[in-house]
Symmetry: C2
Subunit: 293 residues, 2 copies
């Protein structure tokens, strides 16, 4: 999977959820000389973008259909990329292959997100494919290290980032969100089922209601992958929408674990942050010993 | 401070925030034969209830005024009770005594809630008073152990409670909220600046929007004090409003650390939970070794 050397002969199967990320990955892989086949999830993938690539449509739950088509296409490697909100089990359309692994899927649904993803990946591998991380075939989607725009975090912001990283390290084993907001040394929001945008909207609301009293433009959004996360799935992602939500929440900036989060539009994101006066930084992963403040 | 023996001669100073708790505490102390003097915080304490007791009005930040009056009344012990949302520093009215300790207060405001409370308590003690926990003078406000209503948690609920307790133990050192919601082994919300009611309202919204897909009446609200918390301040509190919010959030029940949370209206709360089909339990504190799941 290294970026150097001749590209593999087999086309890469890209199972596409929502957002722009699948097409950014597809373009990066094509740019390296490898063919791709998109498996677009009905209800999540964007038809207008999917059309530009060799593709098939599939429904969540149609594993047999999907693996048959992927085999016909000569695919051996599979990438899952793009947001897929956890579907209700009643929304799934099951085909025969899926029904055969249904007990394992139900078990997967009974656990947290990590359990779900780990178990789904084992099922995929049981069908004869190799599960590959999007960032392995398209490393350009990883957020790089360092100050990424015009604005830099203050010492105060750096202290808040350290608190956020330590909290994320401590809660990672609980398989909850991958983001927190820290302001003036105080954790003011922890992400769980509401997602990052939902958490930032809450801060905007708490500030405008006067429940959360903070100086203007203060507080940092900190995002990092869970410590034991299978990075082939669901690395935290940031983008222009994250900047918009952070601006609305009155924050000073965004800190992302360098090479531990992905973005479909780094330049757009950083440009927007520059214009709004927010900093964006890629920070080194927190040390295991930094798990406590 | 034991409930037995002759009551102390000096009247108890009760600094009153919002809610019914201050008057429940005052009645319990009077019931034990001790006099009370209420110091009602303007903007938080309820004038209609304050009127029923010997009292003075004070503003947050008027430490000199408050300590002079308390000394005139012959008070030696001070209890702080009732919700006080963290005031903006610009809202405070400072008197001379407060100005003298202002550097320490500003320092207190720079930290999280625990820092604030710990530092305020040192300031109070520096003025010659003894800070006493409301639950020490009125142990009847503590939530007792065991099943408190007609409904019992299932095995599934008990597993969710254990996850919630473990998460609260792990995040306690970060001085964030004192409540989480766990459903089917998955942490779906973590409280920080929004408070318990805000967190429960979010779950109601996520469920009604279809973002959070859970079986009807599932999930547990788990509340516990922070592990290293100064219990003389700010034990988590529950009441009828908590039950209302938990019902609206579609939860199965409420688990509170036994003797680690307070309530002004246990009977009303339990009656309401019984009627709505929710369980309410007081659970033993999680073992330190249970800090990780």
């Amino acid at each position: 999977m290294s970026a150097g050397g001749a590209p593999p002969d087999d086309p890469l199967a890209i199972v596409c959820g929502a957002g722009n990320m699948p097409y950014r990955v597809a373009d990066a892989v094509i740019g390296r000389g490898r063919r791709v086949v998109l498996f677009a999830l009905v209800g999540w993938a964007d038809p207008a973008q999917v059309e530009r690539y060799r593709h098939h449509w599939a429904r969540f739950g149609q594993l047999g259909h999907l693996s048959r088509l992927a085999r016909q296409e000569g695919c051996r490697d599979v990438v899952f990329i793009g947001a897929v909100t956890r579907p209700a089990i009643t929304q799934l359309r099951f085909d025969l292959t899926t029904l055969m692994v249904l007990p394992r899927i139900i078990k997967a649904f009974a656990g947290g997100d990590d359990h779900l993803l780990t178990r789904v990946s084992r099922i995929i591998e049981g069908l004869g494919f190799r599960l590959v991380g999007a960032h392995e075939v398209a490393p350009e989607i990883l957020v790089p290290a360092g100050q990424l725009g015009r604005h830099a975090p203050t010492e105060r912001d750096r202290a808040d980032i350290a608190v956020g990283q330590a909290l994320l390290a401590a809660t990672g084993v609980f398989d909850i969100g991958q983001a927190v907001v820290v302001a003036a040394n105080r954790v003011i929001a922890v992400e769980a089922a509401e997602g990052t945008d939902g958490m930032l909207a809450r801060i905007a609301q708490l500030r405008s209601d006067g429940i959360l009293k903070l100086p203007a433009r203060s507080g940092v959004l900190v995002k990092a992958p869970k410590p034991a996360q299978d990075r082939r799935f669901d690395l935290p992602s940031v983008g222009a929408r994250t900047v918009e939500a952070a601006v609305a929440a009155g924050l000073a900036g965004i800190a992302v674990e360098a090479r531990g989060a992905v973005t479909a539009d780094l330049n757009e994101m950083v440009g927007q942050a520059d214009a709004a006066g927010l900093f964006v930084v890629g920070v080194p992963a927190s040390e295991p010993t930094r798990g406590q403040p």
